[in-house]
Amino acid sequence: MATASPSVFLLMVNGQVESAQFPEYDDLYCKYCFVYGQDWAPTAGLEEGISQITSKSQDVRQALVWNFPIDVTFKSTNPYGWPQIVLSVYGPDVFGNDVVRGYGAVHVPFSPGRHKRTIPMFVPESTSKLQKFTSWFMGRRPEYTDPKVVAQGEGREALQKAVFSVHGLTSPRPLALGHIKGT
């Protein structure tokens, strides 16, 4: 019986990237992707997504609302490497270049049900004032080689001296529905 199909458990994630608070920026869009361990494999749904551009709401909250849906199903044999959602937010700078405005990651909730998470978003800062200026001028801010880095442990030591600034908060609302399927 074991040979027929290996036992896995499924993790169904659906939810949405609801809104963000970026007091300084407007017209942002966001990308999401998942980082998961070796024992995990996506079985259905989209692993990556890029949202529409949204503008700030005109009310008190000044929220950037995307309501961008996430729907993905993973199968796994091991809770180790539980998926994380990695979000990165981009928006135009003064010159119209697309510039990263924030990175953030959060684990998919461990318990089924509705969950709301608010992630602080941060970006790496230039290492010097001069670079800050040139990067601003050229529209090429420092960014991660890969947004997935924020969800991983390796290479953190390289970031020891790096400076980050928090620009805003993003609220994805992942809704995890998991069940163990024994076969």
Partner: protein, 1627 residues
């Protein structure tokens, strides 16, 4: 639930009917029931009564359910029986449903229609349903373990299964404590009767008693259980009956039913019950608590007065708000229910906690998911609000500092002493001060408070009951009483002291007033308007006296008690001491006696005996206290400190009603004083953080020495204030102001805001000395009121500033207070407020035990909300949780997590798999989806791994065929593993640049470049490749990485010879050594080309790139110099899907770039069809290939250049023809090249960052490796390298390398003349050049294995030449070193040349000095190039290394074409050893001599056969759909030919060979070629054969030929020749 509900309904109906039956057929039943021994109490009640009881039955469940709430736990056993009543009905349903449903239904149906209306009228609610409710309800409660549930479940079971019935009956029997009924099966009739009737009599019995109980208003729960049993009994019987039904008698019973039908259905007139009766009954039944207030005496035990703890000074807390009526109802109810009055406190009220909320949850929060989701899904409408930036936000954000405001209100100044005070003023000030004191004391009235407290305490002692705990044990009471007593003592002391103080104060006031009056009289004028009036208050003398007396008596009695206690204690002491004394005396006497005897014996000694113990005095008994004495004492004290009862109460009143004598009536001195006062004026400066921020206006000093300012200063501040100071300045006349004093104002708490701040007074005093010449007393000067100058006083200028400091409130009501974070000072002051902290000191805060101790000592009222946080802290700290062990445990939770023993854990396959994976064991690295269960893990998963572990020492020959090589491979593997383990740490090392992409620090060149870019053409004519973003090898997955191969063009592709053309002898070019390096003149005459028919293309080449078995090819171009300019994209797949840097570096795959010629064959057999169709067959002929290892591409990131195509020495059917047209014009240039060339650009997309960062990092780490080199030398190497890197960072400079054991070795130690195999030297004994070539060939035959592959790119390990020959594998360095050593031994001048070449990148070549020119040798291919050869793969030169020195290239250029290799010129070459650092004569690490074994020819022959066999099998495998025929004849021909090729080193045999082939295979079209390579493993051979694509010919009648020849060289170096060919018979 539906069927169940239905069932319930049926039950309802039937039950109703049965009830009716019970009523109707009562008479009949009675007789029957009597016969049954079980029915002990036959029903005798009238039908009417029955009804009322029935209604009880209906009501009963409610009280039952309500009452036992508090006894739920104790009741569990009884619970089952109690909820039993519904059971009979249910089982009856089962009965009805099963056995007699049909018949019953028919009959019932008829009856029902008649009876129903009447029934419903009478009993509007279906009772049985209500009867069921208790058990059902209970199921819904949290108490899920109750038997009620069991009952319910049994009910269900009863319906269906008989076995459960039996079981249930058993349980029913168990419940039944004393079976009153003899067990036995009743007759069916009996049973049926019972079944239909049994239910009613029993409840009747049970209901009577509760009713009675209700009337009595008592609660006797013990009885209840008993009463509740009958139903159980009944049910037990009924079970028997049911069993019967299933038994044999069932038939009879059912038959009998027909006769009984009349009993079952009955008609009856509707009963009427008057509302009056009903009400009466209800009043009898129900208890409705009255709403009236319960008189207190009822709530308290007899003869007890209510106590009010609040009045006694104890904190009781605030009771929760409950409506008065509700309280009354509850009280009445409790009085009824609980006669012991446990619910009432001493004050006659219901006991209540001040805060009913428990500090911790006692129950898990219930998860109501559905509800919450529903609630959350509700949409909330929120009106759109226009966003207004509120100032609150601004404060919070901290963006707008300076908005905080401190309001300082300075209302005025009062001098309590001033130099200008007259004597009267001094007295007046004193009087005023005393009066203030008096007022303050009066307001507090501490004496009264203490008196009251004393009273309360006395009461408490009298009642002898602890107010907190009504039922505490005796000794606690005793303890509390003792406590009270001690407290009484203390309180009394305090009170006496207070009273005395009051009295003395009053006395002093009067005395001062008297003094003042006398002074006024004396000086005959008054300066102050003060006037003291003493008001006498009449008191009721008698009552007063009584109270006084009572007080004294009480005190006396207490004292007496104390004294008696003391006396008792003393007596005790006395007794013990007396006892001791007596004992002592006895002993003494005994001694004396002895002594006497002794004295009698020796009379002389008598006198000498001293009596040292005589001093023990007989203790005196303590005096019993005399009441009179105590009374006397008490009275004395009372007289002293207390107002005597007959004295009236004196109340002083100070008024300013007096008149001040005008100045003209005063003496001169006084007038001058007054004038002086008038001259003076005062103002205040406000200092914030020691900086003056504002000052008040200057106000003149009034005659009363009060100054009124009434000014408010608003200080706009940014930070939390540090200090706030007022400075008092006084100006006299027009002179400059003098600073009188400084007043420090406290910084207000954050809660103090404007409008709420009280006016406070702060005292100040000055130390100035002022002597005045008028009546003023001055300051700091002694003066006296007495005439004789005695009793001198020295007064200092002092006063009070009345002010208020508060935080301002903003427009929107928000206090403008700096955020708390700034408020470090404020925080400390807040801490100080809680005196607990100040009393223990700050350290006490951390020491909880100390704090708790303090709290216990100071008798903190734990109920006082003021102390609540403190008490909570203490309770938490001392609750035992904070047990601190004396030891430290490293993993204190380890024990808890050891859920399974280690052995078991190790046995788990899954755990093992996970463990191995995390260790990155190669077999399991990147293992995906480790199965969940052990049973799903196959044993074979581990087999490979275990086998490898087993085989570590065992040499496996299957794969390698040659044992020696197997050993070597094993050894290499082990070395590699150890090295990798060594560097495991550094592998994960990342630099910031790997993680974050950031623009570099711009310098001028970049800025200039970027500026230049702006002006750049958008589409330049000659585009250049731009640098791309680098990607660190992480987060990559399959398909992310692509290999881009851009094939630009090729030169000098071999061209076809006409197949039909006759054998022709081209002018053979026997190239001499000298010709090769120089521009050799063309030996080809253009005349051959005449053979080609016009319009026929010479060659139609295309390029096929195969990588990891993916094949891509370009379009077909034409001519020997084709230009494709095409980009091919090949996917890259890392081994095991592991894209880590280490894994990528160890990829051994090779990119094969094969050049083919596309040949079109006309297959039309019939010429007549030529017009209608084209039938051609495409054949591809392999022309040559270029092999580039992936590791090279990976490390180079891009490979751009022209490569020599590896063309087999014999290419049948092709000729390297020179294009005559081209050759004519560019002869000199063209002819430089020997072979064909191809221009390529290869890169990886995205660009991967190779392990460079690791290398950088490693270089530091490598230094840590032990080295046997001299420390000085190492320092020098570092210096040298640093200098070189500074000048030419791109040029390779090597000084030290790491040998195979990991030690750092100076590089020149590797170079030493070493003897080449004698065999090779013997071939051309006279021709040095030929020998050199042969030696180079020998070296190149040693397989190439890059270090990056073997050692994961971590470091470059250099092995010595003997190691290299033993390993038979190595990279450029080893080859170069060996070749260099051979050349040195041949007597050449040779150097190791470090530089960059294509495609290898950084590499090592060998440079030799021949007569007059330099030669550059590629050690891996054995080829050599002249210095000025344009096609030399070496592109730049970094340094040269000789056996005794290192020279770094410091010339401007590094291309070998443009540099001078003369190392003697110090301007061109920077040498390591120079005059300043002479060569120390380093010994070589190389062996003295290389020993070569003769190669084993037999073994080689055997290997040859095996390889041939394997290859043949492979070719057949590759052609699964076709038949593969082998042409033996051709094969043998080829086999003979291969040794010739080896002998001639693959040169110049082509034409002979062709001739021979043609001769032998004349009628075959032949295409094939020999492949030559060094031998390492079988796999590269297979790959090479595969890449030629010989097997791809799909012509039906194709035949194949394959021959292998292995030529063994010394030291087991094998040269492998493979000849593959396809033959097609010509027709």
């Amino acid at each position: 639930m539906n069927p169940r509900e239905e069932k319930v309904k049926i039950i309802t109906e039937e039950f109703i009917e049965n009830d009716e039956d019970a009523d109707m057929g009562r008479q009949k039943r009675n007789s029957k029931v009597r016969r049954q021994p079980r029915k002990k109490q036959p029903p005798t009640a009238l039908p009417k009564e029955m009804v009322s009881e029935e209604s009880h039955l209906g009501n009963q469940p409610e009280p039952v359910q309500e009452e036992p709430k508090t006894h739920l736990l104790s009741m569990t056993v009884r619970r089952g029986p109690r909820s039993l009543p519904p059971i009979p009905s249910t089982s009856r349903t089962g009965f009805a449903e099963f056995s007699m449903r049909g018949r019953m239904r028919e009959k019932l149906q008829a009856a029902r229609s008649k009876a129903e209306s009447a029934l419903l009228q009478e009993i509007p609610t279906p009772r049985p349903r209500r009867l069921r409710s208790p058990s059902k309800k209970e199921l819904e409660t949290e108490f899920g373990t109750e038997p009620g549930k069991e009952v319910e479940s049994t009910q269900q079971e009863i319906d269906s299964r008989s076995y459960s019935r039996v079981k249930f009956r058993d349980s029913a029997r168990k419940i039944k404590p004393k079976p009153q009924v003899p067990p036995g099966f009743p007759s069916p009739e009996e049973a049926y009767n019972f079944f239909t009737f049994s239910f009613d009599p029993e409840p009747e019995e049970s209901e009577e008693k509760p009713k009675a109980r209700h009337r009595a208003g008592t609660n006797q729960e013990e009885e209840e259980g008993e009463e509740e049993e009958p139903p159980a009994r009944g049910r037990g019987k009924e079970m028997d009956e049911e069993e019967l039904l299933n038994g044999d008698d069932a038939e009879d019973f059912l038959l009998g039913l027909d006769h009984m039908a009349d009993d079952f259905v009955a008609v009856r007139p509707a009963d009427y019950e008057s509302i009056h009766d009903r009400l009466q009954m209800e009043t009898e039944m129900f208890f409705i608590p009255s709403r009236q207030t319960v008189p207190t005496y009822k709530k308290l035990p007899e003869n007890v007065q209510p106590r009010f703890l609040e009045d006694e000074g104890l904190y009781t807390g605030v009771r929760p708000e409950v409506a008065r009526t509700n309280q009354n109802i509850m009280e009445n109810r409790l009085l009824m229910q609980d006669p012991e009055r446990r619910w009432f406190g001493d004050d006659g009220r219901i006991l209540a906690l001040p805060n009913p909320i428990k500090p911790f949850p006692s129950r898990r929060p219930v998860l109501t998911q559905e509800q919450s989701i529903k609630a959350e899904l509700e949409t909330l409408y929120k009106k759109a609000v226009k966003y207004v930036h509120s100032s609150q936000h601004m404060i919070r954000s901290g963006d707008h500092p300076g908005n905080f405001q401190l309001d300082i209100d300075i209302s005025g100044l009062i001098f309590t002493h001033h130099p200008c005070f007259s004597r009267e003023h001094v007295l007046a000030a004193k009087l005023a001060q005393l009066y203030d004191q008096y007022l303050a004391r009066h307001q507090r009235n501490k004496a009264k408070f203490l008196t009251d407290k004393l009273q309360a305490l006395r009461n408490a002692v009298q009642t002898g009951v602890d107010p907190e705990k009504p039922h505490s044990s005796l000794d606690t009471i005793q303890k509390t009483i003792n406590e009270y007593k001690s407290e009484i003592r203390q309180t009394r002391k305090f009170r006496d002291a207070e009273q005395e103080k009051d009295r003395t104060l009053l006395k002093t006031i009067i005395k001062v007033w008297k003094e003042m009056k006398s002074l006024r009289e004396f000086q005959r004028f008054t300066n102050t308007p003060l006037k003291l009036v003493l008001r006498k208050e009449k008191v009721d003398q008698k009552a007063d006296e009584e109270a006084y007396e009572a007080e004294i008596q009480a005190e006396i009695s207490e004292l007496l008690e104390e004294h008696t206690e003391e006396y008792a204690q003393k007596m005790e002491e006395y007794r013990t001491s007396l006892h001791q004394w007596k004992a002592w005396r006895k002993a003494q006497r005994a001694k004396k006696k002895k002594r006497k005897q002794a004295a009698e014996d020796h009379p002389d000694n008598e006198i000498e005996e001293p009596h040292p113990e005589e001093d023990l005095v007989k203790p005196t008994p303590p005096e019993p206290t005399d009441r009179a004495v105590i009374e006397h004492e008490v009275r004395e004290r009372a007289a002293q400190s207390r107002r005597r009862p007959w004295e009236p109460t004196l109340v002083p009143e100070l008024s300013l009603a007096g008149s001040v004598t005008p100045s003209d009536q005063c003496p001169r001195a006084e007038v001058s004083r007054r004038e002086d006062v008038k001259k003076r004026s005062v103002y205040l400066k406000v200092l914030f953080n020691n900086k003056e921020v504002s000052r008040t206006v200057s106000r003149p000093l009034g005659a009363d020495f009060r100054v009124h300012f009434g000014q408010i200063f608003n200080l706009q501040i940014v930070n939390w204030p540090e200090s706030l100071t007022l400075q008092v300045y006084e100006t006299i006349g027009h002179s400059s102001p003098t600073l009188l004093a400084e007043v420090f104002l406290p910084i207000p708490e954050t809660t103090v805001v404007t409008g709420r701040a009280p006016i406070e007074e702060v005292e100040f005093s000055s130390n100035q000395h002022v002597t005045l010449d008028h009546e003023g007393v001055g300051s700091g000067v002694p003066f006296s009121f007495e005439a004789d100058g005695s009793n001198q006083l020295i007064l200092m200028t002092s006063g009070k500033v009345s002010h208020s400091v508060a935080w301002a409130v903003g427009e929107n009501g928000i206090p403008l207070i700096p955020p708390l974070s700034q408020q470090n000072i404020g925080f400390r002051s807040a801490l100080k407020r809680a005196d607990a902290i100040s009393s223990i000191g700050t350290s006490g805060l951390t020491d909880m035990k100390k704090l708790a101790k303090w709290a216990a000592e100071s008798k903190l009222d734990p109920n006082d909300p003021n102390n609540a946080p403190l008490m909570q802290l203490i309770s938490v700290a001392t609750s035992g949780e904070s047990y601190v062990p004396d030891f430290f445990r490293l993993e204190q939770l380890q024990q808890e997590f050891n859920f399974v023993s280690d052995q078991e854990l190790n046995r788990s396959k899954r755990f093992r798999l996970l463990h191995l994976r995390s260790q990155e064991v190669p077999e399991f690295r990147n293992y995906k989806q480790v199965p969940v269960y052990d049973r799903e893990i196959m044993e074979k998963v581990f087999q490979d791994y275990e086998k490898r572990l087993r085989d570590r020492s065992v040499i496996e020959t299957k794969e390698h065929i040659d044992t020696h090589r197997a050993i070597v491979a094993k050894y290499l593997q082990q070395v590699r593993e150890s090295v990798i383990n060594r560097f495991l740490i550094a592998k994960q090392y990342f630099l910031l640049a790997d993680m974050i992409v950031e623009e570099e620090v711009p310098n001028i060149s970049i800025l200039g470049l970027s500026l230049f870019k702006l002006a750049e053409q958008k589409r330049p004519l000659r585009p250049r490749r731009k640098g791309r973003k680098k990607v660190t090898a992480q987060n990559l997955s399959d398909g992310d990485i692509k290999l881009l191969v851009n094939i630009v063009r090729a030169y000098d592709i071999p061209v076809r010879k006409l197949a039909m053309s006759k054998f022709q002898q081209p002018s053979k070019s026997s190239r001499m050594f000298s010709e090769k390096r120089a521009a050799s003149p063309s030996t080809h005459s253009p005349t051959h080309n005449a053979d080609y028919p016009l319009g026929q293309v010479l060659v139609r080449p295309f390029v096929e790139v195969s990588f990891q078995r993916t094949v891509c090819h370009t379009t077909t171009a034409e001519g020997p110099n084709p230009s494709w300019n095409e980009e091919l994209e090949l996917p890259f797949k890392a081994p095991n899907g592991d894209y880590s840097t280490a894994s990528l570096q160890s990829v051994k795959d090779i990119v094969f770039i094969n050049i083919f010629d596309e040949v079109l064959h006309d297959v039309l057999e019939d010429d007549r069809e030529r017009g209608s169709g084209i039938h051609t067959r495409i054949e591809r002929h392999w022309l040559g290939c270029v092999k580039i290892p992936f590791s090279t591409i990976y490390f180079q990131a891009r490979i751009d250049g022209t490569f020599k195509i590896d063309i087999p020495p014999v290419l049948l059917g092709y000729n390297k023809e020179r294009n005559m047209i081209l050759e004519r014009g560019f002869d000199s240039v063209r002819s430089l090249s020997e072979g064909s060339y191809i221009t390529l650009f290869i890169t990886i997309e995205p660009q991967l960052v190779p392990g460079e960062s690791i290398r950088e990092k490693m270089s530091n780490m490598l230094k840590k490796f032990e080295s046997q080199e001299d420390e000085k030398l190492l320092q020098a190497t570092e210096k040298f390298q640093a200098e070189c890197a500074l000048k030419f960072p791109n040029r390779q400079c090597l000084t030290t390398v790491i040998d195979i054991s990991g030690k750092t070795v100076f590089i020149t130690r590797y170079l030493k003349p070493l003897n080449p195999p004698q065999e090779l030297l013997n071939v051309y004994p006279n021709n040095l050049q030929a020998t050199a070539e042969l030696v180079a060939r020998y070296v190149s035959l040693i397989p190439f294995l890059p270090d990056t592959v073997s050692f994961g790119g971590i470091c470059d390990l250099w092995s010595t030449s003997d190691q290299f020959l033993d390993l038979l594998a190595g990279d450029e360095e080893e080859h170069a070193v060996l070749l260099c050593n051979y050349f040195l031994s041949l007597g050449k001048k040779a150097w190791l040349l470090m530089g960059n070449a294509i495609p290898e990148g950084p590499t090592a070549y060998v440079l030799t000095w021949e007569q007059g020119h330099y030669l550059i040798w590629n050690p891996c291919s054995g080829h050599f190039y002249g210095q000025f050869d344009t096609f030399c793969p070496l592109k730049n030169v970094g340094c040269l290394i000789g056996p005794d020195n290192i020279w770094f290239n410091i010339q401007r250029y590094d291309s070998p074409l443009r540099i001078n290799f003369d190392v003697t010129k110090p301007k061109l070459w920077k040498s390591f050893f120079s005059r300043s650092l002479p060569y120390p004569g380093l010994s070589s690490v190389q062996p003295e001599e290389l020993i070569y074994q003769r190669s084993d020819k037999a073994a080689a022959a055997e290997l040859q056969d095996r390889i041939e066999k394997i290859l043949k099998e492979k070719i057949m495998d590759w052609r699964p759909r076709h038949l593969t025929r082998w042409n033996r004849y051709c094969t043998s021909t080829l086999r003979h030919f291969l040794p010739l090729l080896e002998k001639s080193q693959g040169e110049d045999v082509e034409d002979d060979h062709r001739a021979e082939l043609l001769k032998q295979l004349g009628d075959y079209r032949f295409s094939g070629f020999p492949l030559h390579m060094p031998y390492s493993e079988v796999k590269p051979l297979i790959d090479a054969v595969y890449s030629t694509g010989v097997h791809n010919i799909n012509v039906p009648n194709v035949e194949f030929a394959l021959a292998v020849y292995i030529h063994p060289y010394p030291k087991n170096v094998l040269s492998v020749w493979i000849y593959v060919a396809s033959l097609i018979r010509n027709r």
